[in-house]
């Protein structure tokens, strides 16, 4: 079986960092790549959505928002009791796992495309919808009183991930295939190559995070490995049986539930719950769950999606 070059790029980044190579991406390049990826995913989703009756999206959309919001409430007691975290830390980590990782989604989409497995065109919409609810749930869990504060909601709602994804979807939906044709050379044809560059940089960041894991402790590492297996399988099952998604669609829903945010959630939780240790969420999401999803869980969930 051919190994995906995207995965190898990521592995190269991790290896380079662990070998203490001086390889480093300039910050603006990294930032520009993440803007590109978010916009490209949004645009493509919006274009395909323009051919689709919107009513088809309603039920999966409601499910996605509900699942993203509910997940931290399910994970919170596990983090408190089984992992042994304090209230703020448990809420912060739960928020990371309630929200989603755009790059994991992109890798899973590329994985399915390479194998010719089709998925529902509205999946990027679910991705955009699932970014915020988990973070809001995490903030609510961290604060014993119901007052979570409007600034946090505003900050979450206008974070760059949501603005670019939702904005891209909207623009793609408005311009349709014809309008998108002029953007296609940049946003479709170059996509995999630029994703590969992004993954190389992400590998460097992940490699630098490994020392944090020692301090995070084994229970959190186990949590970061077991959670995506369980939530991913649940997502595939529910996507297939409850929502009637195709094998590809159910796989992507599983991937969304299995993935953990490492950009939007850390920044939002840092401000909303400053007493939480930021290293716990980001390290488990980025250094354990992300590589686990890339190397093992995405193929596993695709296999499960094909079975269901």
């Amino acid at each position: 079986m051919m190994i995906d070059p995207l995965v190898l790029m990521f592995a190269l980044g991790v290896a380079a960092r662990l070998a203490r190579s001086d390889l480093r991406f300039p910050e603006p390049v990294y930032e520009a790549l993440s803007v590109y990826l978010l916009l490209a995913i949004g645009l493509k989703g919006g274009v395909v959505l323009s051919h689709q009756p919107l009513a088809d999206v309603a039920l999966p959309a409601v499910f996605a928002v509900f699942a993203g919001f509910a997940l931290p409430f399910v994970l919170f007691p596990v983090l408190r009791n089984a992992v042994g975290l304090g209230r703020a830390d448990a809420a912060s980590v739960a928020a990371h796992y309630g929200s989603v990782s755009v790059v994991t989604f992109a890798i899973a989409t590329a994985y399915l495309q390479q194998r010719g497995i089709p998925a529902e065109p509205f999946m990027p919409v679910l991705l955009a919808l699932m970014e915020a609810p988990g973070i809001i749930a995490g903030v609510m869990l961290a604060r014993s009183r119901a007052a979570t504060g409007a600034p946090v909601f505003r900050e979450v709602a206008v974070n760059k991930g949501i603005v670019l994804l939702a904005g891209g979807i909207l623009i793609g939906y408005i311009v349709g295939t014809e309008g998108y044709a002029s953007l296609k050379p940049v946003f479709s044809d170059l996509f995999r190559g630029l994703l590969a560059l992004y993954l190389l940089e992400l590998g460097l960041v992940v490699g630098g995070r490994f020392p944090d894991l020692r301090r995070a402790g084994m229970p959190l590492v186990v949590f970061a490995l077991v959670t995506p297996l369980v939530t991913g399988a649940a997502g595939v099952g529910l996507g297939s049986w409850l929502l009637g998604l195709s094998a590809g669609g159910a796989t992507l829903l599983g991937v969304l539930l299995a993935s953990a945010s490492y950009i939007a959630a850390p920044a939002a939780m840092r401000m909303a719950v400053p007493e939480a240790n930021p290293a716990l969420g980001i390290s488990s999401a980025l250094a354990v769950t992300f590589p686990f999803n890339v190397f093992i869980n995405v193929p596993l969930l695709a296999w499960l999606g094909g079975m269901s």
């Binding site: 930032e31 993440s34 630098g208 020392p211 950009i263 850390p266 920044a267 840092r270 401000m271």
Partner: protein, 106 residues
Amino acid sequence: MSVSTHRRCQLTIIAEYVLEEKLIALIGRLGAHGYTVHEVRGGSFAADGERRREGAGETDRTIEMKVICERATAESVAQQVLGQFSDHFSVRVLLAEVEVFRPGMY
């Protein structure tokens, strides 16, 4: 022709990137006339020499903010910044005397 100079304080705040907006709002409220901000890289070490926090990468970027102002303003900014943020965030605040040419700007 000699140019006269005037004493002011330069407050340097090195902090987590996520605090930037809050710091700008705070110094504006406390009467500073302006500021400069740039991103920096750096880290800190625990007592055993182990690296504790590396201010690199998207998620834990670090900024350095400079504010030149009257001493009283600098002191109240320093007090507020440390009081509000030093418990849970990585923050360093330094104060230095500088000489400026146009005192009205600070």
